[in-house]
Symmetry: C2
């Protein structure tokens, strides 16, 4: 009998079950080896297939399952969410933006290729993410609803607006309202969209979609609070990147704005509030495991 410590966390069991589906979906619904210039396609593949937790696709699948939907039907949307996330990393890493040379331990796209190729690879991936939904979700009403949800979350009132606010805030005085705006938009909007899109494809009604949206907003913010905490407290080995980078860049973080203990408490409260939204769902286990995983990382 394995003792308690040896038991895999429910998130690990979820990830073991769904991650192979996600990787298959990315290969199945990504751009074909097309007539496009080879270097452009290579740069897109280099960045999309660089690994990573695939958190957003897992949220799409877990949310679809949570409302009794079929995983199969959600696979193109799961792939699309990872494409939008990947395009945003390619552009955020550019010299004119965060100017990062390394991503997941490998050269960033503009380092492995060049700036022009990285800009175009991100542009094409941004467009293709929506195309993947429009091409592969058979019901037009659900395709429109999911693609629209993703577009709003990715755009100027979501992820791109959050990145702009983040760039403008470097060196600014700590300000919780501004920090919250950045996190809710730069990362939170896409995480929320992943959950809502999974519900849309699973056939959820508006009341259920409202609860999924609330769950998504809370774990989206919790995810970023935890990320800030780990940036302060982890070793490079634990983190897989240099810790303290955000702090050194003069970026606001939750520990800087409210202190480390208060940030931990805030993350736990957000997760508790997120879990409360899952009451009454057909199969909430996956979404519960993801929410609990977030807060477990801070202890």
């Amino acid at each position: 009998m394995p003792d308690h410590a040896a038991k895999p966390h429910p998130f690990e069991r979820l990830s073991d079950r769904l991650s192979p589906l996600v990787e298959q979906a990315l290969r199945r619904f990504a751009w074909p080896e097309s007539s496009a210039p080879r270097r452009l396609v290579e740069a897109m593949n280099y960045s999309l297939f660089a690994g990573g937790k695939r958190l957003r696709p897992l949220l799409v699948l877990a949310a679809c399952e949570s409302v009794g939907g079929q995983l199969e039907s959600a696979l193109p949307v799961a792939a699309a969410l990872e494409m939008v996330h990947t395009y945003s990393l390619i552009h955020d890493d550019l010299p004119a933006m965060d100017d990062d040379d390394l991503r997941r331990g490998r050269p960033t796209c503009h380092k492995a290729f060049d700036e022009a190729t990285a800009i175009l690879a991100g542009d094409a991936m941004n467009t293709f993410a929506l195309q993947a939904i429009l091409d592969n979700v058979p019901d037009p009403a659900r395709a429109v609803a999911a693609a629209r949800e993703l577009a709003v979350a990715a755009g100027l009132e979501g992820m791109v607006g959050g990145q702009m606010a983040d760039l403008e805030s470097e060196g600014a005085a700590p300000d919780l309202a501004r920090l919250r705006y950045i996190h809710e938009h730069k990362t939170g909007a896409l995480i929320t969209a992943a959950v809502v899109c999974g519900g849309i494809i699973g056939g959820a009604g508006s009341a259920t979609l409202g609860r999924l949206r609330n769950y998504g907003r809370r774990i989206g913010l919790a995810f970023q609070v935890v990320d800030d905490i780990l940036d302060e407290t982890s070793t490079a080995e634990q983190l897989g990147k240099s810790p303290g980078k955000d702090r050194d860049a003069g970026k606001m973080t939750y520990p800087r704005v409210m202190g480390l203990d208060a940030a931990r408490t805030h993350a736990a409260e957000l997760v508790t509030a997120a879990l409360a939204e899952l009451t009454g769902l057909a199969r909430p286990d996956g979404l519960r495991a993801i929410a609990e995983y977030f807060v477990s990382r801070t202890h």
Copy 2:
């Protein structure tokens, strides 16, 4: 009685009739003054409302009319086509790409703002163009068909692939096949999509959409041949930009590859072939006027 020379070209009559609708559509279907960072919205407005011929929106409206559709229903799609065109100009002008300081006589977006803002403004506009269709085309099947048509034309197998091939071709030996690939993708794909999207919104069947696609491909290529000819033959005053720029940049142009007279003949042949596709349409006058306008510019 005005003499023949004083008579406005049919294209001018079309433009006088439809351009006010296009400008209204851009203001009506563009992003709201949103919660997004002001500087980002300002950069997007700076570039979208910088004027220009609005050729792609005119093609959407003329194509919708040509199949007996209502102009009103095509307005969001007309706006979306101009947004994708504008985002592509913002990114193509970046230092890592064509590195242009001036666009339509004004500083380019990254000069008027900064590189990071220009990248994000283009990203947000790319996404919002598809959102404008998904939000405002009431019939989900037509919304999916039009958004899909635009996404394919804008992406790696269309406009972005063409820009990549154009960057890779600088200084390359003149090669008609390569030049044709660049033009058919970098500018032709979006012009074709404008015509096809207008037909989709107008309710055209697949046979009619096929003819509209053929028309679009031919005028799309003719447009670029004419642009190359004008780059060789015009004064800066006529052109509104420095002539010879493409030639000086070592870019392939039709006059360089096939000679000036052969290029003029090629443009005329493409327009004749485009006009032949309009036979049997309910109201072909607008599309005819646009095709004839292209070739009229070279004499």
